[in-house]
């Protein structure tokens, strides 16, 4: 286990972490303001990835792909909110879970019809396909570095949005007491749609950015959604800061676990057994982390709001 390898894995973990943050921030904002648990959040991530792949292919420019993905996810999110989800804000979480599960089933099938069942692949833009030596002796893919940079920039932008804009003020007020905000003459419905659209665009951005790193396929949204839940449980639901800390923790623990657990186990077990069991154990490392947080702080590290 060399220092280079460790540094490389740390960057990988950060990259996975900021992707998760883009999703967790939207999920946690929507919950914080509207008290809605949205299972279809991963669907917007999937929409982002598919649109980015198609538009990049047609236009030949990855940047257009990303912009189109953000726009498409924002529009899809707004449509879902206006048609179905706004009726669920006053309902129990069970109803919200079921209805958004229905939304997932619908969109997964729709994507299968529009794009076919085969996975799509998207290459990173040519300028970013090389590697950069972050520290002498550690070449690292430039594209992954870009993801980390974009993710951290978005984190700062979201923070700025929440602390020093009018929308941000309303988001904070709405999270504390949404009825009072409505009583004070704010068009709450429009605020809710705007918050939902912001979350959707962040998810679309995450999908587009992650597109070149993985197979774009139906079901990718739910896979990452459940990881996002783990992030939000660890960070504390409703807290954007918690989402950032939780996302980086999950990204790092997951990456370190996969890279180093089999190596560590080889000291105790035979190589094949170590790889087999190490693989299984590292795939559950983040859930163990979640369980530990639950024992220590059942409402997450940065508890913001009640249940």
């Amino acid at each position: 286990m060399t220092a280079q390898l460790f540094l490389e894995q740390t960057l990988n973990g950060l990259q996975q972490g900021v992707t998760l943050f883009l999703l967790a921030a939207g999920l946690t904002l929507v919950f914080g303001v509207m008290h809605l648990i949205n299972l279809a959040h991963g669907t917007l991530y999937m929409v982002g990835a598919y649109v980015a792949a198609t538009v990049t292919q047609v236009s030949g420019n990855f940047l257009w792909g990303v912009l189109a993905a953000v726009a498409a996810a924002g529009l899809t999110g707004t449509a879902i909110e206006v048609i179905a989800l706004r009726r669920l804000y006053d309902r129990g979480h069970l109803d919200q879970v079921l209805a958004t599960f229905g939304v997932i089933l619908f969109f997964n099938e729709l994507v299968k019809i529009l794009w076919g069942p085969q996975a799509l692949f998207l290459s990173p833009p040519a300028i970013l396909s090389g590697t950069v030596e972050v520290i002498p002796g550690v070449p690292y893919p430039a594209y992954r570095l870009l993801i980390i940079a974009v993710g951290l920039a978005v984190a700062l932008a979201v923070r700025q949005l929440i602390t020093s804009t009018r929308t941000g003020m309303l988001i904070r007020a709405g999270a504390t007491d949404r009825e009072m905000v409505g009583a004070l003459g704010v068009a709450v419905n429009r605020l809710f749609t705007r918050v939902f659209a912001i979350g959707a665009m962040l998810a679309g951005l995450a999908g587009a950015m992650a597109g070149p790193l993985l197979a774009i396929e139906v079901g990718m949204g739910e896979h990452i959604l459940i990881l996002t839940f783990v992030v939000v449980i660890i960070g504390g639901i409703g807290s954007v800061r918690g989402a950032l800390v939780g996302a980086l923790l999950v990204g790092l623990v997951d990456t370190y676990g996969r890279a180093f657990l089999p190596v560590v186990l080889r000291g105790v077990l035979s190589p094949t057994a170590a790889d087999g069991i190490g693989g299984s154990l590292s795939s559950i490392a983040i859930y163990v982390l979640m369980a530990a947080v639950l024992i220590w702080r059942p409402r997450g590290l940065f508890q913001a709001y009640g249940g």
Partner: protein, 331 residues
Amino acid sequence: MSAPPRRKQVVNITGLLVLLALPAVALAVGEPFLIGVATRIVIAALAALSLDLILGYGGMVSFGHAAFLGIGAYVVGILAHHDIENTLIPFLPGTWHGTTAALVQWPLAVLASALFALVTGALCLRTSGVYFIMVTLAFAQMLYHFFVSLPAYGGHDGINLWQRSAVPGADLSDDWIFYYVCLFILLAVLAVLSRIVNSRFGMVLQGCKQNEARLAALGIATGRYKLAAYTLAGAIAGLAGALTANQTEFVGPSLMHWSRSGEILVMLILGGIGTLYGAVAGAATFLALEEILTSLTEHWMLFLGPILVFVVLFARRGIYGWLVGPESGDD
């Protein structure tokens, strides 16, 4: 409860007669594959029933119920696998051989699921509300990933069973016999659970759903009751998993995919929560709907999704609630 008892009894007895007659009907209309569908309905009903105990009566919305089915199925699969390969079960102290005997497999499946429910339940129940939903989902996903990346038992591809469990005096490879064994188990569990939900234990559980703080103020350790219910539900779902493994003669991680947990939840809501019988009605409706829609289009999810949103928004009491008519004191 001033419910019209006669209508409820008529509905329940009709349902029972339909379930008893299903294989004969399947044979009479010349569609013997329907026995398989009927068996799936009965097993799914058992799973939905166990979810109703914690969700309908205890107010615990678990989105990870497929994990228990998966464990039950894997216990059967792993034991059968080592029996066929004639190898020892690894990771256990001492020497343990596989077996196909149902009297060993099924109780072990129930025990293993109950144990998993006890441990994860103790953690999940530290939370409530929306956290509980997400935590149960996460633990189920953990188990899914664990089995996907476990090459010893087939990883993604799972394990094929070459025969159903061996029950003394009955040949489960006969689809008729297997159906009636499953139905008998369902009815037995239904009978036990309807006693339980009206017992003191069940009353505390229902109280937890309505106002847990008040019960706690009365000096009742609500956490223990909820954990006991959660464990019992896990045990029953584990039994359903053992039967699923026998029905499909295959065990794989797909059994505990998150969408399976969603399906069980949908069946229960479709049928109506907090009635026990609703779970059976919901499982039958859901799987019948699946059969019909898949015969019309391969994209049946495109229709199921909106139907689900519609049911949640407008038809809240479920099919069983609609069948037995309005009850005072409902909701």
